[in-house]
Symmetry: C2
Subunit: 366 residues, 2 copies
């Protein structure tokens, strides 16, 4: 059960709900690509890494997708996992013992669960449930999950580090909203928040996942050994931050408003995640694979489209921007971002980004 | 898993969402009284009827509330059950073996789950999940629930009987919206729909509830041996129907619109429910108790208040009325209902109504 503390300090920034122009439902094709390219890897993980005892024990096989948003991506993921689990039963000669499957779709309480439930596939072969709450705390009963999936979600921190918005701190991140070109203190504050949050995430999951159960995390991150100033995703936030500062200079928002805002996102390297898993001690690392990049690359043949990138960012960020700056600036800020990212499209040449998948197995008591 | 048929023919009329003037959240104090008066009966049922084997077997104790609406009543019910289960463990000397408790809040997909999740008690001692779908079909994995609760919900049918809105049928219910003063054919059509729906409900639950698990249903109904023309609740619908016909006479809605509308609600007697349980064969009846009446009685000292009754009805009926007749008529219809029910307050003297609670235990395979 989440402690009072984790419940009250958690900040929640859901993806844009509904199915409108800027909805996550209509602007998450990039995240879909990650799920598609992960499909075979998940199938392989279930085929090779899921112990036969896990198959024989449960009356119900329970799957959770953490940070599910509103669909449809979460439904593709659930279907992939279901099929892989069924294949595994069949390949082990346990055809007649396939249990009922229950899929828990989990995200922040402020996620649009109404939209999620309305769009559940009619022909699903699993029992669906929604679980509201932060994945930085416990969400499920002890030893109740057999497979946990989370795609493009664990880069979200429980909050931006306190220090980066504190003008009396050496880590004050004045005029910026993320840690790409900021000083070392800012980067260290983000890293410390990440370390704490990731331990809470792993601690919670180690309680919930049965011994031998699997967890697959799909993570947008940075290559090993890369400084955040080279992180492509952070650089796009640098540009977004500069658009906010442009608005401040025009007097549309105050500079203090920008200074008091930092994104609660940390792009980790595979090594950082591996180190966190080892520190936690409850999971073995069964595999780590790189997925094809999902951020458009200007070196390719297709024309670079700033407005497409702006819509993509808006689907994920509208909630948090609206909450801090108000609804009025949404159109203007994402419009100016679309233009500025086109002017600065060179970042897609030198910026670094990876999408990776890690397969964990619960091996020890927490 | 619900079959395609149950999925497509089901009709869903959620309680009014949000927390506004006519919301279910703000207009369900009558239903709350039922839950309060059921509290001790549920506690007693868990203390006396829940077998010790049930307590020892599960790693997670799973509770479901079916037809939960948006709260707060469902949270009171969940808390009551949780405390009773904990007391039972303690009284059996199993203090150290109290498992995690998971509560599934279930209602139609169109229920306002966002409102439900947002208002979940912060200090709850259970893991919460939402389950969308019709309780006339399966909602949970086989043998996964230990206690099922449903209050003021199973009077809802999966649909109004087809015949009552078919002008070529002898059961056509012209100019009326329910079966109180209608002919025998109408009453029989309602009864047949009830029989079918209740069997589907019991069939689904008998698969989901573990052997020895309990189900408590709190039911607004009619006394044994009472004709529906004497049913107080049906008589209030008779008045509501006549308000709709008034609007038709004024040309605000068409008469055909009224003729094509019947409420998918059936007020069963305790004997009818007992007969359905016996016919199903998977449950034993462990108890049947009457709860204090929750409909205001004009014979009491408090002044009869038509507008209060109108708000009460609106919280439960706004969705279905809006869906069929459009939003425009809502204020006028509930206003005229409030007036007309005051003029006809004598129905509260001769109309019959009971609120009863039945305790079932799953005893056989389905």
């Amino acid at each position: 059960m989440a402690t009072e503390e984790t419940r009250t300090v958690q900040e929640a920034y859901p993806m844009t709900g509904g199915d409108g122009l800027y909805s996550y439902a209509k602007n998450s094709t990039q995240q879909r690509k990650a799920i598609d390219s992960a499909k075979e890897l998940i199938k392989k993980a279930i085929a090779e890494k899921l112990d036969k005892e896990i198959l024989l024990s449960p009356k119900t096989f329970r799957i959770a997708d953490l940070g599910c948003s509103v669909g449809p991506n979460t439904f593709f993921a659930a279907q992939n996992i279901l099929e892989a689990v069924e294949s595994k039963y069949k390949s082990e000669g346990l055809n007649s013992q396939i249990p009922d499957v229950q899929v828990f779709f989990s995200d922040h309480t402020s996620n649009d669960f109404n939209q999620l439930f309305t769009s559940l596939p009619q022909d699903r072969r699993y029992y669906a449930a929604g679980v509201p709450g932060s994945f930085h705390g416990p969400l499920f009963p002890q030893n109740s999950l057999h497979f946990v999936h989370s795609s493009s979600a664990i880069q979200w921190l429980s909050r931006a580090p306190k220090e980066v918005v504190n003008k009396n701190s050496p880590a004050w991140n004045k005029g910026r909203i993320h840690c790409s070109n900021s000083g070392d203190e800012v980067v260290l504050a983000y890293k410390a928040q990440y370390d704490k949050d990731m331990q809470q995430f792993l601690q919670a999951r180690s309680g919930e996942i049965v011994f031998g159960g699997l967890m697959v995390l799909i993570v947008p991150g940075i290559p090993n050994g890369t400084h955040h100033s080279q992180s492509l995703r952070s650089l796009t936030f640098e540009i977004f931050g500069s658009c906010l500062m442009d608005l401040a200079r025009k007097g549309i928002i105050s500079e203090e408003k920008v200074d008091s805002f930092n994104l609660p996102i940390y792009y980790m390297s595979p090594q950082e995640l591996e180190a966190a898993v080892e520190r936690n001690g409850c999971f073995s690392i069964e595999g780590l694979e790189y997925l094809p990049p999902v951020i458009p690359n200007v070196s390719g043949e297709s024309k670079f489209n700033g407005q497409f990138l702006a819509s993509y960012l808006r689907a994920g960020m509208e909630g948090i921007i609206k909450q801090h700056f108000g609804e009025e600036i949404l159109d203007v800020i994402f419009d100016s971002y679309g233009k500025k990212i086109e002017e600065n499209s060179s970042i897609f040449k030198f910026g670094k980004a990876v999408y990776f998948l890690i397969i964990l197995k619960r091996i020890a008591e927490n």
